[in-house]
Every structure is written in C-alpha cells, then in structure tokens.
C-alpha cells in the first residue's frame, strides 16, 4: 500500500484568498485524484491529475477555481482559488494503485473559510 501525506492538515482562511494543498506519495503512481467532502457529505471527485498532461475536471469544477499541478509521479497540488465560505470542506487526494481501480487516500485537508 502507498503512504500518502497532505499539507496542510487544516487551515482557516479568509474569503477571497487562495490555498494550495500538497499531496505527496511514497512511490511513483500514474493516476492521482482530488476529492471534496463537504460537511456531512460523501466524496465528490474534483479532478484526475495525470503526470505530463492537463488535469481532467469533473462536471461542476473548473480549472480557474481549482488549478492542479502534477510535476512528477509522486506529487500533486490542488489550489482552491478566490475562496468563499462554501469552499469549507475536507479535501482529499488519492492514488490509483494500478490494480482494479483500487485507491488509497491521504489523511485530508480540513479547510474553513471565514
């Protein structure tokens, strides 16, 4: 199994600012995913981050709001831009193990926007 870390673990931000979340994996992986989990809700996929290509966004999520970088096979960042209180959520990254869609998850970043 992969060991995944995220930074920061939590943050409190002001409306209108941006926050960049980092996701680091201890092994090389092809596919990484970013999810949002709003309070009391299930996971919603934001985008798939593939090394060497542009991220693929799900319906309802746009690159201007959630820019993603994937500079190598062990690292990715998600930026939440021009934040509003509605962006208060847990943001999780995950990695595809390459076996039958199995994914491992990072510990999440708990974001509160005031």
């Amino acid at each position: 199994s992969a060991v995944i870390s995220q930074k920061p673990s939590r943050d409190i931000c002001q409306r209108g600012t941006s926050l960049t979340i980092q996701c680091q994996v201890d092994s090389q992986v092809t596919m990484m995913f970013w999810y949002r989990q709003q309070p009391g809700q299930s996971l919603t996929l934001i985008a798939t981050a593939n090394q060497g290509s542009e991220a693929t966004y799900e319906s309802g999520f746009v690159i201007d709001k959630f820019p993603i970088s994937r500079p190598n096979l062990t690292f990715s960042t998600l930026t939440v831009s021009n934040m509003s209180p509605e962006d208060s959520s847990i943001y999780l990254c995950s990695v595809d193990t390459g076996v039958n869609n199995e994914q491992f998850f990072g510990p999440g970043t708990r974001l509160t926007v005031l």
Binding site: S1, M31, F33, Q41, S42, N100, N101, E102, Q103, P107
Partner: protein
C-alpha cells in the same frame, strides 16, 4: 452510468452486537467493489475489496462483505462491534469499464456505538 446507494444514513448499535451495513450498486458489468472507513478527522481507510472469485471477502478489523450479483449488493458485516468501530463507512464501485479508473461512492453510513 455506475451508482451506489447506501440506504441507511445512521445506524446505532450496542457494543458487542453484530453490525450489517447495506450497499446496493448499479454497474453494467462485473463490478469492483470496495468498503472504506473514515474515523472522525481522518482520511479514508480501505477495509476490504471484491474483484472476482469467492463472493465472501474478509477485510481488516474483523469485517467481511458478501457480493450478491442477483441482488446487486455488497453488504458489510461484523459479528461483534467495538467502540472503536464508530465511524463513517463508504461503499464504492468501479470496474473495467469505469471511465478514467474512477470510483463512485455511496452517501455513507454513520455508525454510532453505544456502551
């Protein structure tokens, strides 16, 4: 399109009692099925998975799940619940036809354990 339904939003169970969490899926072929657990303030931990073969799968922490194709179900069970099992449980479906290797998650079931 693939989908997952977890009919029970909350379940309360006494410590030592048995637990069963329901999961129904929709998928156009043989699915890959997963159960994840999320403890308060934590990420998701994989409990168990089904790809093929034996329809009764064993996972970590004493959990098991049974794949029933005829019922499109993948229910999670534990014979005797511990207080540390209080958490949110998510069922997820993927498969060989899943676009972009994506998983689809159910809404989750929150388990409360009474002493």
């Amino acid at each position: 399109a693939q989908s997952v339904t977890q009919p029970d939003i909350h379940i309360t169970v006494s410590e030592g009692a048995s637990l069963e969490l329901r999961c129904n899926y929709s998928y156009g072929a043989t699915p890959y099925l997963f159960w994840y657990v999320q403890s308060p303030g934590q990420g998701l931990q994989l409990l168990l998975k089904y790809f093929s073969g034996d329809t009764l799968v064993q996972g970590i922490k004493g959990f098991e799940a049974e794949f029933k194709r005829s019922q499109s179900s993948f229910n999670l069970r534990k014979p005797s619940v511990h207080w540390s099992d209080a958490a949110e449980y998510f069922c997820a479906v993927g498969g060989p036809k899943a676009a972009g290797n994506k998983l689809t998650f159910g809404g989750g079931t929150r388990v409360l354990v009474k002493p």
